[in-house]
Symmetry: D2
Subunit: 287 residues, 4 copies
Amino acid sequence: MRKLLLVFAASLLCVAANAGKILTDSLYSSVLGRQMRFNVYLPDGFGRDASERYPSVYLLHGLYGNYTDWNKLGNMKPVVDELIGTGEACRMVIIMPDAGGKDIHKVHNGYFNVPGWSYEDFFFSELMPYAESKYNCFSDKSHRAIMGLSMGGGGSAVYAQKYPELFSSCYAISAWLDQPDFDQKGKSMPEDCYYWTCRSVRENSALDYVDKASAAQLDALRGVRWFLDCGDDDFLLQLSMDLHMKMKAAGVKSELRVRNGAHTWEYWHTALRLALPFVSDGFGRQN
Amino acid sequence: MRKLLLVFAASLLCVAANAGKILTDSLYSSVLGRQMRFNVYLPDGFGRDASERYPSVYLLHGLYGNYTDWNKLGNMKPVVDELIGTGEACRMVIIMPDAGGKDIHKVHNGYFNVPGWSYEDFFFSELMPYAESKYNCFSDKSHRAIMGLSMGGGGSAVYAQKYPELFSSCYAISAWLDQPDFDQKGKSMPEDCYYWTCRSVRENSALDYVDKASAAQLDALRGVRWFLDCGDDDFLLQLSMDLHMKMKAAGVKSELRVRNGAHTWEYWHTALRLALPFVSDGFGRQN
Amino acid sequence: MRKLLLVFAASLLCVAANAGKILTDSLYSSVLGRQMRFNVYLPDGFGRDASERYPSVYLLHGLYGNYTDWNKLGNMKPVVDELIGTGEACRMVIIMPDAGGKDIHKVHNGYFNVPGWSYEDFFFSELMPYAESKYNCFSDKSHRAIMGLSMGGGGSAVYAQKYPELFSSCYAISAWLDQPDFDQKGKSMPEDCYYWTCRSVRENSALDYVDKASAAQLDALRGVRWFLDCGDDDFLLQLSMDLHMKMKAAGVKSELRVRNGAHTWEYWHTALRLALPFVSDGFGRQN
Amino acid sequence: MRKLLLVFAASLLCVAANAGKILTDSLYSSVLGRQMRFNVYLPDGFGRDASERYPSVYLLHGLYGNYTDWNKLGNMKPVVDELIGTGEACRMVIIMPDAGGKDIHKVHNGYFNVPGWSYEDFFFSELMPYAESKYNCFSDKSHRAIMGLSMGGGGSAVYAQKYPELFSSCYAISAWLDQPDFDQKGKSMPEDCYYWTCRSVRENSALDYVDKASAAQLDALRGVRWFLDCGDDDFLLQLSMDLHMKMKAAGVKSELRVRNGAHTWEYWHTALRLALPFVSDGFGRQN
């Protein structure tokens, strides 16, 4: 009896012994004029060796969401623990920022600058330096990656397009890469946050970026490892397919996967098993 | 703007339109002398055609658990919806019974009869007829399967051994198939429910069953499709490997998979993607 | 020593015992005016019970290829044996017809009627009745499927569009679904067989078919289970993506997978693991 | 017409452009007194930069086989090309030595020293230095791995046990890790090469090695990344399961996978998709 209980208990401890942890942290943003929270995944043994440096991954949530989504709804922790445990992913710090909230008309959702809410500035000038310094991250391109779902998939792709010198890999899931039908003419809804989300997605179109890129910009895109992953029943599928084909035509290598599924957390949860090895394989490489 | 909102809304509806539902139901058990709850998954469109009959799958929880586990912790619903949507699993009714609770010393956990708690009798004489009748299930072996995790994996295997005329397939995950070190000598703990759980696992050993089976019993085992699935870091792994080898040696075909993982919900969640097509492929067959 | 040798030998026998076989057969085609060969996969135990009927799958080769390709280059046999062994695919007869040859300018490649070579007529009026009768196949839609690669992927899709009453499932791999840039004006190459291959692909465009389909035709398409599978580096990828989106827009459900890979036999070999369970899941269903 | 032909041709070139190549090389072995052939896979662009160094992987064939098996029967090339193309495996040199032949009674099969045929000496003192020097390989443990199938799976495991300072990872497939029933008493068959193969497998038992290992030897085993992969219908399965459990009990971490399959080339072909990322993830690590 005692033996069995010990075995069951030991098994629980054993699992715990290989597990990373998720913390909630925050920083005051002068750009946004408020305290901004984020979650951070730290691998097992983080900080034991004070001189150890970690690659960083930014993991972005979608519309209506916040910094807790990937943990609570995406259940990312056991997958990350497992992949690090086998070596399929290397030990890494995963930063899950906050760029939204449920009430999309009253709260700013999105990763781009809009009047009165310069989120992109916050991300690069405040969040990134704060988190990477505090959590012992490398600070070079070759040890940094970005990924996200839906609105955060679009954010990932556009950030990596605009700042290819900062990210070695980009993994965009079910990505909202453009809002083709957006027409701002005659609109006057400065009060509606969601109007600005859509407008900023249109104005930061990842598709337009490739169409209009200079030779130098295209060359810079070749220095990022691209991966687009979208479900065959996802209402945003056309966007990922279009971006893949545009990049291909422009000589920018990208991976595309269309797996079974729609715009769901089960799809995003399973995407982690592809995404983390992919970004991990890119860390420390010279392009 | 309006268009985009409609698209986002439509996408949510679209997902909803393909989805089954989970109900909580209960029945009064004369055997156990109390009301017994269970969850049941019904596929999309269940009951629309009153004459439609469904295959049934019994999905058993583990020690410390209850009938809500597979839904709440195993997040089974999106996986089942998806597999039925593609046709990888057929439309089926999934019954998730209750055989436990957190306080394992004060509450009976387990699928076997112990003094004062004849769970096995309840299962076959009360739960099965009630659920299958109420939810329009076929009532023959060829349309019934059983699966479960840990204690429920053991329960599945032993039920299918003892009642091979009732189940076409058995899928046992991380299965507690025996308690080899259990020694009842000199024990006197009739008050401790967990003592009885362990003792019943020992006395209903799935390994002993194969060792001691008559030719007729072995032949009956060949009429069930067996699948054992256990993680390479699971503390119960030896049991699944032993059962596979014993059955093989006895001429009983079984599938064995050792995937990456331990005794965790992430393992059991991913097992559903193998399990449901497997049991589904067996429905309606003549062995 | 003797024991070990026996074990090694037994293992080889054991593998052999579960294996189907591939035969080469032929029939005289009055339509084409010549003997036409094909390969056929028969599952283990085929014919043991003379009354057993089998579902049939047509497995089509690509440009430059012939009836031996799927066996010799696609190495289909061990995959089929394995999937039938586990029950992931049901026992089935797989017919691999001949529609080509290496010298594409002098030999007709393709699945459509062209002047002097009415391959489509041969397929439906001669090959299908001959093979299904000789190899004990069911003769109804619900037990017949079609699949193929490249030119054969296009052939599969178009046959299933034009004869939805004959096929329960269609699995098109790396499919050549149209030849958009084909321009026949001013061309006069009746001697060049490849000219006619391209022209027939253009005139039998699977994309045009959906665009121009009547309501009744669309409804008939809904009675086929569609699966499109194409590599992200395949030069034909756009065609599969377009067909998927057109069918979706028209309310015809289809599966799309974009996996890693190009126009290669390794891609097609691995496609079998998805394709055979898919077509198998559709056999015997009422749509 | 011309356009299409160009597209088809371009696609073939495109595939070719990403492909590595396989060469046959040989060296004279003073130890064995004869010329010894081997195959070597070189990644695309090998040698373009003369200063580039590559990790090395030793890929061992099985009983009855030779150095051409993994290429001809295992069709390893397209899988390696693909995995390197996506980054799932890094650029590496794969050395496929020769340790056998079809006539197992007249030709020495095996990776261990036997009277008159000191293969193990040849491997470490002649083949390894020759191949690694000629093909620009790193020469440290952290950039060297070993893998193989059946007899070569056993060879891989035992080599990595005996020389843990030389290999960062070991991936053993369907491994012949011991010959438990071998009894040399009263045998006098010095003429029979196969007798010596079996005897050497018994005397170099990977299972015994763990049982008898000193604390220092166990600690050295912890410096190798272990992966055992064996089919659930493989007649050698018990050996892989036993080694996994023994290592686990001894505190040596190892991965075990039991996938569907038997002792077949299809199993070994698919194993490459797991094996190459695994060994690749270990290159350059400090244990």
